[in-house]
Every structure is written in structure tokens, then in C-alpha cells.
């Protein structure tokens, strides 16, 4: 009987080819959309991780409680020893020091008097050590507009727009007026090595990037930093691995009774980033729900049309003595077959498109010029394990649901009408 049904299915293209094409198209869109959303949100998460949160972030407990205020007076101390220990505990990870700071940046005239002045929001990263990956990580190569990268601890990069406001350029002196870690006033001269443009308004208005050693010196933060960012050895954030690292670190190093003891937070626990993750989960859930509903309606309709077309066939089968339940089950069996084939093909094609977008990406740099959000300028799809099976859920579910709904008509059909129907 199964062979008999298969023959009918393969020979009757409107019963097999059309629904398979519909399922394939739907599953392809689902897989592609999933990979695309995954890629965009993943890139945004990764972008934010590189700039602000790391895959994991270590702070003092007190700093963590007030981290929005960037309280450098509560910074981590004896950081070099801590990094040495971390490199032993987590040899595949990389830990980098960061200091976020604010203050006034002053540009002097030829007499040393203030020419222009502006509020500065800066970050200090390792720019000059031999093996630093920070320039690559922060994509500074692409952001450099004038000059060069700092080669000494007293050299800085400032945003191109900010440099224009201060009327300074590469080689000019600027003075940073800020506070030390201990609350004292700090006035430190720096040389502008180059100017940068991120394409992000928030960064371009008053941004400054300095070498960590120069800022540590300026802010009396020798062997101290506000935050230690840790990066997993994978291109994309892996929450399970990050959670393991977070748990083991906090068990070993963190003391709830000591507000200056270090504490590690993983990316997903970050107040801003957790919203992204929830959005990502929600977006995928909505995508699948919408697809299942839309496809069920489409396939229900396809099933109804197919059912109408096969009205005579079903009538003959009932008259010959096939039970209604048997016919209904055979239709569901056919739909499972169609669902599997369609989902397989759709997944394959969807993954193909996603792979292409993962490799090539879509450059939206021009559109992002005035953005206030920190986000990457090239959006890429990202293929993850769920992409390989995700399409099968709606693909199979919708086609079977569509068939189940349209097949209910079989049970409602009066056998007594068969002769009349079959004669018309």
C-alpha cells in the first residue's frame, strides 16, 4: 500500500511537486531569515563585546554596582598579577585592560593658552605593545582618517570631527584634564597621532582613544584598570562557555564580603546586552510562529485545492471499501513525506544563501554615518547549528497541519452522496 501511495505521489505533480515547492520556499526563507537575524544580532553583540563588555568582564564588586558611572576610583588593582593567573586558568582566552574616562580636552595656542576646549569621552586600550590585537579588534585600521596610530604612551587618537572642533591635527598637542583614581586633579599633555572616524555619531562627536599606559600614568592607575575584558577563543559569543568561565572565576576569586574583590559578569548578564539576547530569542520565536501560521494557511489552501481535485479519487476509494481513517492517515503520511523533502531542500538552499551572505555580507556603512548606535557597518548572516534543523519544525508542522485541517472534510463526507458525486 505504501508503494502504491508513493507511486501516486510521484506521478501526480500537483500532489507532490507543488506542495514541495511551497514548503521549500517557506523553509528556505525561514532558514535564511534565521541566519540573517542571527548574523545581524550576533554581529551587534560581538561589536559591543569588542568595545564595551567583552565576552566576560571583570570589575571590582563596587565598580560593578555603579558601572554606569564609570567609577575609576573603584578600579581593579594588581591587574598584572591577576592577568598572569587568568592566563594560567583560561589559557585559550585573551584578557585585555580597559579604562573608560571622561574629562576636558584642551587645545592650546602658540602661547600655551586655551584655544579650544571640549568634553571628551575616551577609552584607554593597549595600542602600543608588540602583540596587541586591540587595533584589529576595534577595527581602528578602517577608522583612521589622518596621521598614524600611537607609538608612544603619550600619543592619542581623537575623532576627526572632534579634532576639527579643537582645530588640531596629527602632531599637535592637547591637554587632558580629568581626575585621578584617588580623586585628585590630573592634567596631562598628549600628542595627537591621528584622527579617526567611526561613522557613529556618539563616538565621533567627542571620542578619544589612548594607550592604556598613558592613561594609567595620567590617572595614577599604575597596575590598575577599570575593567578587564575577556574574549573567548571563538569568533562568536558562546554563552555556555562564558557561563562556565564566569562560574569558575567567581568561585575562585570573588568574595561577596569584599567590595574590592573582582567579580566576573558574562556578556549575557550585561544589562544592555541581555536585552539583545531576549530580542534575538523573541525574533526567532516570532519568525517561526509567523512562518508556521502563514505556511499552514497556504498549505491548508493547497491541501483543499488538492483535496477538491482528488474528490473523485477519495470517493472511489471510499466506495471500494477503504476506511475514512485509512484515507486520512494516508494523506498525512503523504504530507510528512512532502514536509521532509521540502524542508530538506529548503534548508539546503537557505543554508546556501546564508553561507553566501556570511562570506560576502552587506555593507551598510553609508547608511550608518549618522547613527547613534554602536553597530557594525557590514552585516553578515551567521550559520549556527539550529539553522540545520530549524526549518524542519515549521516545514513539517505546517504541511501536516494543513493536510489535517483540509482532510477533516473526508470525515464530514456523506458516503451516501458518493454515487451522485461520482456521476457528476
Amino acid at each position: 500500500m505504501i508503494r502504491f501511495l508513493f507511486k501516486g505521489l510521484l506521478r501526480d505533480r500537483s500532489r507532490s511537486l507543488l506542495p514541495i515547492l511551497v514548503v521549500t520556499a517557506g523553509v528556505m526563507l525561514t532558514v535564511f531569515a534565521y541566519c540573517y537575524i542571527n548574523g545581524i544580532l550576533g554581529d551587534m553583540i560581538e561589536f559591543s563585546a569588542k568595545y564595551t563588555s567583552g565576552h566576560v568582564k571583570i570589575m571590582t564588586r563596587a565598580y560593578a554596582e555603579n558601572k554606569d558611572q564609570v567609577p575609576n576610583d573603584l578600579a581593579l588593582i594588581e591587574v598584572n598579577d591577576l592577568i598572569t593567573n587568568l592566563e594560567k586558568d583560561y589559557p585559550t582566552m585573551e584578557f585585555v585592560q580597559r579604562i573608560s574616562f571622561g574629562g576636558l580636552l584642551d587645545s592650546p595656542d602658540e602661547n600655551g593658552e586655551t584655544k579650544k576646549q571640549g568634553i571628551v569621552a575616551g577609552i584607554a586600550v593597549d595600542l602600543i605593545s608588540e602583540n596587541t590585537k586591540e587595533i584589529e579588534r576595534l577595527n581602528l585600521d578602517g577608522a583612521l582618517r589622518k596621521g598614524r596610530f600611537p607609538e608612544k604612551s603619550n600619543e592619542v587618537l581623537i575623532s576627526d570631527e572632534f579634532a576639527g572642533k579643537l582645530e588640531v591635527g596629527p602632531g599637535d598637542k592637547v591637554t587632558l584634564i580629568t581626575s585621578t583614581m584617588y580623586g585628585g586633579m590630573s592634567i596631562q599633555n598628549f600628542t595627537v597621532a591621528g584622527t579617526i572616524e567611526f561613522g557613529v555619531q556618539f563616538m565621533d562627536r567627542s571620542g578619544m582613544i589612548a594607550d592604556i599606559s598613558g592613561i594609567q600614568n595620567a590617572m595614577d592607575m599604575n597596575d590598575a584598570c577599570g575593567e578587564l575584558l575577556g574574549f573567548l577563543n571563538s569568533p562568536n559569543y558562546d554563552d555556555i562557555e562564558a557561563m562556565n568561565v564566569e562560574t569558575t572565576f567567581n568561585n575562585k576569586y570573588s568574595d561577596p564580603n569584599d567590595e574590592f574583590s573582582p567579580v566576573m559578569n558574562r556578556l549575557k548578564n550585561d544589562s544592555i546586552m541581555s536585552g539583545y539576547f531576549e530580542y534575538m530569542d523573541g525574533a526567532v520565536g516570532i519568525l517561526i510562529t509567523v512562518f508556521v501560521l502563514a505556511m499552514s494557511i497556504v498549505l491548508w489552501n493547497t491541501g483543499l485545492i488538492g483535496g477538491l481535485r482528488r474528490y473523485g479519487e477519495i470517493g472511489v476509494r471510499l466506495a471500494i471499501g477503504e476506511e475514512k481513517g485509512h484515507i486520512y492517515r494516508s494523506m498525512i503520511f503523504e504530507s510528512i513525506f512532502i514536509g521532509i523533502i521540502g524542508s530538506f531542500l529548503g534548508t539546503l538552499i537557505g543554508l546556501g544563501f546564508s553561507y553566501w551572505l556570511q562570506e560576502v555580507g552587506i555593507d551598510i556603512g553609508d547608511m550608518m554615518k549618522n547613527s547613534k548606535m554602536m553597530m557594525p557597518s557590514v552585516f553578515r548572516a551567521h550559520i549556527t547549528t539550529p539553522a540545520y534543523y530549524l526549518g524542519f519544525i515549521p516545514g513539517l508542522f505546517s504541511v501536516v497541519l494543513g493536510t489535517m485541517l483540509s482532510g477533516i472534510g473526508i470525515y464530514k463526507r456523506k458516503t451516501a452522496q458518493l454515487f451522485k458525486e461520482l456521476e457528476t
Binding site: 502504491f4 477503504e322 458518493l418 461520482l422
Partner: protein, 232 residues
């Protein structure tokens, strides 16, 4: 007489709701059919022929009275039992053949046997025998669309006969056929009736069919007005 009857119909009444009232399609039918009969229910359109055939074929139930087919009262059967009765003991021939278009002649004839869960070899033998009866052994791989109307009806007869049912119900089987094909088909059914002792019951108003009948039951307004056995 009643003991050897394959079909017994007693005081059968069938009413259909029409608007707020009812239409009586069959009104107090009493009939009995014996094994091997070649009988026809004849009468004008609306006389109740198809309704009576439906009730005998367990496709419909009586409002009052009963129809007993192969010892089973069709009114008491569940849909599952009715399907089983049709599957095991009844064959149907339709005016428009109703072959499954995507299947070959062989597969169309094989289908009722699949429902009976016969083995491959049993099915092969039965299908070949049936196609031999109707003279279509050279068309086993053809699809219905490649056959003439007469050939399609012969396939439909083979499909009805392949499981060697006790009863074949044929509703206007020659209505779509020309005279020559009609005669061929009827001769074939008569031969099968004589060789296999299958009971044939026709619903028809076609004179070509009536000429071949051994028993003619005339219905008018839902009542049997004449029941005559014809000696050839």
C-alpha cells in the same frame, strides 16, 4: 426462498429532508435477490433506483425497514463495518468509470486487493485473471487517459470483479458508451455472472441494458410496480 437470498429488503422506506418537509424516495420496498441473479432496477429519473442501490451498497441507510446484505443489516453497521462489507463482498461500477488517473490499468485493478492485504503473488494472479476476463492484458501499463471509453469501463469492471465479490452494483454503466461498446460490456458482465455466479444489480433506464436482464424490477415514485423474471 428467503433463506438462500443474498440480499433481502423488507418494508424499506427512505425519506430525505427537503426544506421543512420530507421527500419519500422509497416507499415500502420488499425485495429479495438470490446468488447469481442478473437483475436490473429500472424506472424513470427520480424513481429511487440509485437510492435503492446506495442502501444495498451500504452507502446509505433506510429510514424505516431494513436491507440485509450478506446476512448483515446495513442500517446497523458502523461506518467501519460498512466499509468492510463493501471491501469484502461488493463491487461497484460507475457511469463515469472513476478510474484513478495517475495509476496504470494494472494498478487500478490491483487497488481493491491492496485493501484486502493479499500477497504480491495472489494479487498478480488475480489482476491478470481479471484483465484477461475483460480482454485488456495488452493494456496493463496504459493510463486511463490513453484508453477509450469502452476500455475504461472494462477496466472498471475488472476492478469491480478482481476480488470476486458476491455482488456487483452498477449504476448506469453504459450511459457514456456507444451501442457497440455497451453490448460488449454487457456480454462480458453476463459471462462473468454465469461463470463466477456473481450477482449483478443494475440501476438503469437504458434499453440496451434492459435487453440483457434476467430480472427486471420497475420502480415508480419509490414503489416497486413490477418485478418480472425474464426467460430468454
Amino acid at each position: 426462498m428467503e433463506q438462500s437470498s443474498i440480499i433481502t429488503i423488507k418494508e424499506l422506506i427512505k425519506r430525505f429532508p427537503v426544506g421543512k418537509g420530507e421527500f419519500t424516495a422509497l416507499n415500502g420496498i420488499n425485495l429479495a435477490f438470490n446468488t447469481g441473479e442478473f437483475a436490473g432496477i429500472v424506472g424513470p429519473s427520480g424513481s429511487g433506483k440509485t437510492t435503492l442501490l446506495n442502501i444495498i451498497g451500504s452507502l446509505d441507510t433506510a429510514t424505516e425497514g431494513k436491507a440485509v446484505v450478506m446476512g448483515q443489516s446495513t442500517g446497523d453497521l458502523t461506518t467501519k463495518s460498512a466499509a468492510k462489507l463493501r471491501r469484502m463482498h461488493l463491487g461497484f461500477i460507475f457511469q463515469t468509470y472513476n478510474l484513478l488517473p495517475v495509476y496504470t490499468v494494472y494498478e487500478n485493478v490491483e487497488f481493491p486487493l491492496l485493501l484486502l492485504k493479499l500477497s504480491d503473488s495472489e494479487r498478480r494472479k488475480a489482476v491478470n485473471d481479471a484483465l484477461e476476463w475483460v480482454g485488456l492484458t495488452d493494456k496493463i501499463k496504459s493510463r486511463p487517459a490513453q484508453l477509450s471509453g469502452g476500455e475504461c469501463q472494462r477496466v472498471a469492471i475488472a476492478r469491480a470483479m478482481v476480488k470476486k465479490p458476491e455482488i456487483v452494483l452498477a449504476d448506469e454503466p453504459t450511459a457514456n458508451l456507444d451501442a457497440a461498446n455497451s453490448h460488449n460490456i454487457l456480454k462480458m458482465m453476463l459471462k462473468l455472472n454465469e461463470e463466477l455466479k456473481t450477482t449483478f444489480i443494475f440501476a438503469t433506464h437504458d434499453d440496451k441494458v434492459i435487453k440483457y436482464l434476467k430480472r427486471k424490477i420497475t420502480l415508480e415514485d419509490g414503489k416497486v410496480v413490477k418485478d418480472e423474471f425474464i426467460t430468454k
